[in-house]
Structures are given as C-alpha cells and as structure tokens.
C-alpha cells in the first residue's frame, strides 16, 4: 500500500516534467488533391499527416562550436499507399504513390526525403480540371 502511495506521489512530478517537454506535434487527418494534366483528372484523398507545435528558440549568443538546431513537426515513421487516377490515356502512368504518416515527431527536417520550406497557403480543392 505504501509503495503505491509513493509511486502515485511521483505522478504529478512526472506529469509536470512531461508537460514541459511535450509538444503537440501529432498525427492529423487531411485531404489532399491529386491533379494530373496528362489524365485530365483531379481527385481528393483523405490521408494522415503531421501537424502541431514544436519548441524552438533563437539564442542570444551564437557559439560557433555548439550546433544550432530548430526542430519542426515531421513524419517519424510512414508507409506508402498507391491510388489509381481515373481517365488516364493508354501509356500514361495512372498510379500515384504517397506517404502516409504513422507517427510524428519534432525533429530536424530530413532533406533526403522531405522538401523543407516555410508555411504557405496550401490549395485544398481541385480547381483546374474536373473529375470525370
């Protein structure tokens, strides 16, 4: 019984410590548009991405020795799914393979797999081609 009480007394300490370190970068459901000029089609698919807040700072003193890193909300683990675009003529690749986030993390943006940029207004509708 006393062991349980001691363990429970540690809970607020762990929660407060965790809340200071915890960021809200997490999985998010989004809709993305897939447009193809060759197929003259545009479809909307629902998938899972990452979004949220990450802790960053700009130091008053920039040491040439200490690395200066800004962590942003990125995919940690992901898998791939493939869809078929409708209305594609013969000889045109109708498949579109895209990553689906399995977990997210505040980490450096990996330029091997990711195009790292600034926040922009993401278009969310098919505006050029109609879906046949």
């Amino acid at each position: 019984m006393m062991r349980v009480v001691v363990l429970m007394m540690l809970v607020p300490i762990l929660v407060s410590a965790g809340s200071e370190c915890k960021a809200s970068c997490r999985l998010a459901n989004i809709s993305i548009t897939v447009e193809s000029e060759e197929c003259r089609s545009c479809i909307t698919i629902n998938t899972t991405s990452c979004a949220g807040l990450c802790q960053t700072q700009e130091r008053a003193y920039r040491s040439p020795m200490a690395p200066y890193v800004q962590n942003t909300c990125n995919f940690r683990e992901w898998t791939y799914e493939t869809i078929q675009l409708p209305g594609c003529p013969a000889g045109v690749d109708s498949s579109f393979t895209y990553p689906v986030a399995l977990s997210c993390e505040c980490i450096q943006c990996n330029t091997d797999s990711t195009d790292c940029g600034a926040l922009s207004m993401q278009p969310s509708s098919c505006h050029t081609f109609s879906h046949y």
Partner: protein, 119 residues
C-alpha cells in the same frame, strides 16, 4: 489500530495527489498543452542585475504532408514529403556586448521563417 491509521493516512495522501494531478490538467490550456507560446525569456547566463539579456523561446506551428503531384513535378529533386515550418525567432533585437562577448538581445519575438531546421 495502528494499521488502520496508516491505511487511512495513505488513502488521504493518495487522494490529495490525484486532486493535484487533476488540477494540473485543468489549469493548462488543453489545445497547447505543454507548449508555451513564442516569447521573450531571460538568458540567465548573460543577464546581469539591471542589464537583462533576453532571447526568444517557445512553440510555433509546423506541418508535414504528402507532396502534391503537381508540386512534385516542378521539383528539381522530387521529394515525397513536404514540410512547412515556422520557428520562434526575434522580431526585433539589439546588438550588445557583455563581458566583451557579442550578443543579440531580443526585444520582440514571433513565429517566422526557420533557417536551421534542415538536416
């Protein structure tokens, strides 16, 4: 008798801990739980009495999503994931010297372009 008193004391302790934990959750903004806004924080290493040095620190929004097909076709090196990020940086600052060390004393912060987020 002593055992009963000990058990009662343990139960009271347990209840107070649970209430304290519950209040911790209630007092925090649920949407930004555990992530303070981007703002000025005093740099304790370089600050002196009467001459504080501040730096920007806090949380900013970022997201990563599958690169749209149209965008992928315009990329020199196509990437499957697109990341858009903002970082907590100084909006206004003053350059100061503290103990002959060149510092940047931030006076205002905002979430803006990241320059050191790529690996």
């Amino acid at each position: 008798m002593i055992l009963m008193i000990k058990s009662a004391g343990a139960i009271i302790l347990l209840l107070s801990v649970l209430i304290q934990t519950g209040q911790l959750y209630l007092n925090n903004d649920v949407t930004n739980f555990g992530c303070e806004e981007c703002k000025l924080k005093e740099n304790n290493i370089f600050s002196k009495p009467g001459a504080p040095v501040y730096q920007c620190m806090g949380c900013c929004f970022s997201r990563a999503y599958p690169t749209p097909l149209r965008s992928k076709k315009t990329m020199l090196v196509p990437k499957n994931i697109t990341s858009e990020a903002t970082c907590c940086v100084a909006k206004e600052f003053k350059r100061v010297f503290v103990n002959d060390v060149k510092l940047v004393n931030h006076t205002d912060c905002h979430c803006s372009t990241c320059y050191h987020h790529k690996s």
